[in-house]
Amino acid sequence: MIPPVLAAEGLHKSFGGVQAVADVSLAVAGGELLALIGPNGAGKSTCFNLINGQLRPDRGRVRLRGRDITGLAPRRIWRLGVGRTFQITATFGSLSVLQNVQMALLSHAGRAFDLLGQVPREDPAPALALLERVGMAEQAGRPCGVLAYGDLKRVELAVALAHGPALLLMDEPTAGMAPAERAALMALTARLARESGIAVLFTEHDMGVVFGHADRILVLDRGRVIAEGPPDAVRGDARVRAVYLGGMEVP
Amino acid sequence: MIPTLPRRVALLGAAASLAAPALHAQPSVIRIGEINSYSAIPAFLLPYRQAWQMAEEEINAAGGIAGRRIETIFRDDNGRPEDAVRHAGELLNNERVDLLAGGFLSHVGLAVSDVARRNRRLYLATEPLSDALVWAQGHRYIFRLRPSTYMQCAMLVEEAAKLPARRWATVAPNYEYGQSAVRWFRELLSRAKPDVEFVAEQFPALGRIDAGATVQALAGARPEAIFNVTFGADLTNFVRQGSTRGLFDGRTMVSLLTGEPEYLDPLGDEAPEGWIVTGYPWQELNTPGHVRFREAYQARFNTHPRLGSALGFDSVTVIRRMLEATAADTDTEKMVDALRGMTFPTVFGEADPEFRAIDHQSTLGAYVGRTALRQGRGVMVDWRYADGRDYLPSDEEVRRLRPQD
């Protein structure tokens, strides 16, 4: 049996006696979009950070394609094939869109300490191809510092895809975007994931986005998994409805 | 109240001032390039420059030297030797000065002296004290006017050896001057009086003395006498804390340079009494030469002369004497030859000192005496003139200390 791209087993994390994440296990397969949802304080962010290396779990394991990556530095995890986007976009504001992607490509090629090469003379084609995929090729020459927010999100996506990751971790990918843009971005993500067989794990507040694009949904409440399954099953789950009662609309 | 420099205000045409090698230098004028740390230590150098200008004007008013006027171009190095070196280059190459002079801080003096050595041009160092200037780093083109660290230490050791004290402590600013003063004092005193012991030494950072702690540390060692090398603001703070804490009670203090008005005046009515010091008793020194100088200076600047004033005036006298000897010929080698062994009158009005041929150190002396309070200000009393020639090491020793060429 081929192991899933990402598998987390029995994650525990507490902060000063407060159990933030308790016995969370999850698995994402290639080409699959798994949404991690839950009300505020449910442990989504903690769970996310346990997987991406920002935090180290008290107990439990995180495996990437069967390899144990628990507690590795984010930098190492990236090298093993994990791309990330952030809730508040993080790009290099003083570099151009093209250079943002080129930087990721150069880092992947192990050339971060190359002092002799000249970036302006590098072949832009690979980076342009990535930008093409997210629809940002026309804006390749603009500085990131001046882009619209939705465009920044797409640049981030291109950067996250630069080293051909097996797994994409997206923290609130549509936060701060206009509703129309949200759907477009998630549709783009889903298409890219399926084309390249990338596993995607994302957290999200917008239930429209979640139920419209996720293949499976995992619902957390007070650090525990209370439901997991395809959107239709989760939508009908009584505990999920109870958790979200009054707090959030479940379509 | 800021005395003004002869300014060369036509400056902002910068390229012009960089280039244009001294089109304005008339052959009839003898030009002296004077470099000093005016903005870094104005309190010491303004009186010096005033007296220098006074002396220069006297010479020019009398028709110059063999018909040639002298003109001094002053440069401020801000206490940075690298700036002094640049000024030296500018003065020699652009202003076409005939000789370099000046210097108060030892390191600046050494830096300029090295330029003089390399360019084979004369440098008359007026005030730097470092022994290295004419000994370890001595050379044909450097002459020094003021009595050196060694000489002033030797003058004080002579007095210190007469004291009954056996337990000594030292306090000195932590840099070359302070360290070598302490080294000489210890060495010479131990030679003169083998049974002395040094029970504590303090080396506060220059200009940053933590006076309370330093005084307490010295008191804790219970010395019978203390040799002090701190000066300026450090000295003031040291004296305040020391007198409040009773450090000086029942102890003999021997102190380098403290009798100079530059250091005594700021202490006002808190000037310590009974310290054995080197210095300059300008109030009581009544040799005919000094009376004339003091009165002229006071009339002109409405303040009394400092030691710097005396040295500034003497420097110009040295240059005048030298040029008279060469018949106003400014060839460097001739000027050097003229200076070697040359005697010159001083504003002190004591016996004329000479520039020793062996090491180019002048035998100008200093006054050794005790401090006292008179009408709310510190003065020197019971002083005597210590002739510099009596406080220099033997010729063999000098030959050992100074590279012989």
Binding site: A112 | V215, T244
Partner: protein
């Protein structure tokens, strides 16, 4: 024996109190406005001078003395307000370092103004009425006034605590200190808050200065003497933390008092050693907290483009001029041009870590000086030829950069800057006080070029070749993958980490490269001057480098070159021609900060952009 230790400890407490007064103002101002106020020492000095004048003018006795002190404190507070309203208020939005530069301009101005008003001589103030004498404490006589000072520190700390915790104004100050974003939320009140905080901080500096009157002479060196120590105290305590400053002042005071008993010669280096150790162990000081927002939105600079045609032409013309013109201008011009070439490389090396690297160094002179000393020591102790010395210079500097940088690049912002300063001061003190090795302040003489390079013109071409070559290499590497990685980790550490960039190693390598380049400049400087003195790595030289970089503009690649040219030229001209050159230089810096916040190169760029859109 223990009586001596007790007295020593009390002396340390008195020192601590004085230090705390100055440091408290500095830390309060920094906490709210994030301004590193270099002029704080000048306010302290003004406090002492004003107190001297006022106490002397008022009738003798308690009223005259304490009234004079109080008046001086208020006047210094008003001077602080003036500085804030006239200068700093206009540049809060500028990069942090520009504000530092502005306050440095104020330092220069105050120095000459104080000289002009009070004259050059040290002034000795009267002692405090009623506190002249000493008390007997177990056999040691301890000054009454020092006992009084020991009490002043805690009392001021207590009053400040009440002010900050029991008044609405204080609550706002604390909120602003804790969270930068809060300041924006205060809206209209922000101006008033900043101004009043500046009044308080300046008044505390003035109080510190005025209260020294009965202890120390008032002189023109007070400002720079206190500012370094005040910074040390503030940083050790944790920026913005009052209790931290108090604790640090106690620590430094006691270290000094007892340090001189054990190591009488370590006086200069001790405080900086303590600061280095504290920062290595606790990167935000004893009681400091990491800033709430990791990076307060760094100013976004435009991407570096390839040099425009115009810039290329200007560069080539400049280089051609540098090759052809100086030989026609005589020996001295060659000396000056050699120095300018060296300063260009020195500034470019600092810009390399400050601009693309996003690090601040207050101690870049250390590497310049290491290069100079590396070459000079080889000459002095092994009679090595110039070629060996010039080779050793970058090696020694690079080695120092590797060791010091290893610790410095882990920290950020002002803390990193202060650690660079600490290391530079340690290097400087070593050169200054280790006389057997370095000759101390008398320096190392006779560091002259080899015979073939002795003619001024040859040496000029040598220096020009090496400096322009190294500067161009630095410039080129800004466009290399490594250069881009530097900018990447500066723009977004989070994103950089997420694409596998090792921020620490990138900054470390950049730091070493900058040190190597500064070392080349330092080595050339040694042979150009023929001698090396500790001043090559003293604070003023680090400040010179900072001024050059900021003058030219941090955010442009050509900035340091233009800045070095402009500064070296202006400095040389002003110093030669004007007695009050510091005043003029200070005014020039202040004017530049106000009118060219992007630096000269930035301003030129904008002008060119406007003309040819």
């Amino acid at each position: 024996m223990w009586q001596d230790l007790l007295a020593q400890s009390l002396s340390g407490l008195a020192t601590a109190s004085s230090l705390f007064l100055v440091a408290s103002g500095l830390t309060v101002i920094f906490g709210v406005t994030r301004i590193v106020n270099f002029a704080h020492g000048s306010l302290y000095m003004l406090g002492a001078y004003l107190a001297w004048t006022l106490v002397g003018a008022l009738p003798r006795g308690h009223l005259g003395f304490w009234g004079g002190v109080l008046l001086a404190v208020l006047i210094v507070g008003v001077i602080g307000v003036l500085i804030e309203v006239l200068l700093l208020r206009r540049i809060y939005k500028s990069p942090e370092l520009f504000q530092l530069l502005a306050t440095f301009g104020v330092v220069l101005i105050v120095q000459d103004v104080a000289l002009w008003i009070w004259g050059p001589q040290d002034l000795l103030g009267p002692r405090a009425p009623g506190l002249r004498g000493a008390v007997d404490i177990f056999g040691a006589r301890f000054p009454l006034y020092d006992l009084f000072l020991i009490c002043v520190g805690p009392v001021v700390l207590g009053l400040l605590w009440l002010l900050f915790h029991r008044t609405r104004w204080g609550t706002r100050v604390r909120a602003a200190t804790a969270d930068r974003e809060m300041v924006g939320a205060l809206g209209v009140n922000q101006r008033l808050l900043f101004t009043t905080v500046f009044f308080l901080g300046a008044a505390l500096a003035g109080l510190g200065g005025a209260l020294q009157l009965p202890r120390e002479s008032v002189n023109l060196q007070m400002d720079l003497a206190i500012i370094a120590e005040a910074f040390v105290v503030v940083v050790i305590g944790g920026l913005g933390s009052l209790p931290g400053a108090f604790l640090a002042a106690l620590l430094i005071g006691q270290m000094q008092a007892f340090g001189i008993l054990i190591f009488p010669k370590i006086t200069l280096v001790l405080v900086f050693l303590v600061m280095a150790v504290v920062l290595i162990l606790r990167p935000y000081g004893l009681l400091g907290r990491p800033p709430a927002t990791a990076h307060a939105a760094p100013a976004i600079e435009p991407p570096y483009g390839p040099p425009s045609r115009a810039l290329r032409v200007i560069g080539l013309v400049g280089l051609a001029a540098a090759l052809v013109v100086p030989p026609l201008m005589g020996e001295f011009a060659l000396i000056v041009f050699t120095e300018i070439a060296i300063m260009v490389l020195f500034a470019a090396s600092l810009h390399f870590i400050m601009g693309p690297g996003g690090m601040v160094s207050f101690g870049h002179a250390a590497y310049f000086g290491m290069g100079a000393y590396g070459a000079a020591l080889l000459t002095a102790h092994f009679a090595a030829p110039m070629e060996a010395g010039l080779l050793a210079a970058p090696l020694v500097a690079g080695l120092a950069g590797a060791v010091f940088g290893f610790f410095c690049v882990r920290l950020s912002g002002v803390y990193a800057a202060m650690l660079t300063l600490a290391f530079a001061q340690i290097a400087w003190s070593t050169a200054f006080q280790w006389i057997e090795l370095t000759g101390g302040d008398n320096g190392i003489l006779g560091v002259w070029p080899s015979d073939w390079a002795a003619p001024k013109l040859t040496f000029y071409y040598l220096a020009l070749g090496l400096c322009v070559g190294a500067t161009l290499l630095l410039r080129r590497s800004i466009f290399s993958p490594f250069g881009m990685a530097m900018r990447a980790q500066r723009d977004s550490p989070l994103r950089a980490e997420a694409i596998g960039l090792d921020g620490f190693r990138i900054r470390w390598v950049a730091f070493i490269l900058a040190a190597v380049a500064a070392g080349i400049a330092g080595g050339l400087f040694a042979y150009a001057k023929g001698s090396v003195f500790p001043s090559v790595m003293a604070i003023p030289r680090s400040v010179d480098a900072l001024v050059m970089v900021l003058l030219g503009g941090v955010q442009t690649v050509s900035g340091p070159i233009i800045g070095a040219l402009a500064f070296t030229w202006a400095h040389e001209q002003l110093m030669r021609a004007f007695e009050m050159w510091r005043l003029l230089l200070g005014l020039l810096i202040v004017a530049l900060v106000l009118f060219f916040p992007q630096g000269l190169a930035g301003a030129a760029q904008r002008l060119a952009g406007r003309r040819a859109p």
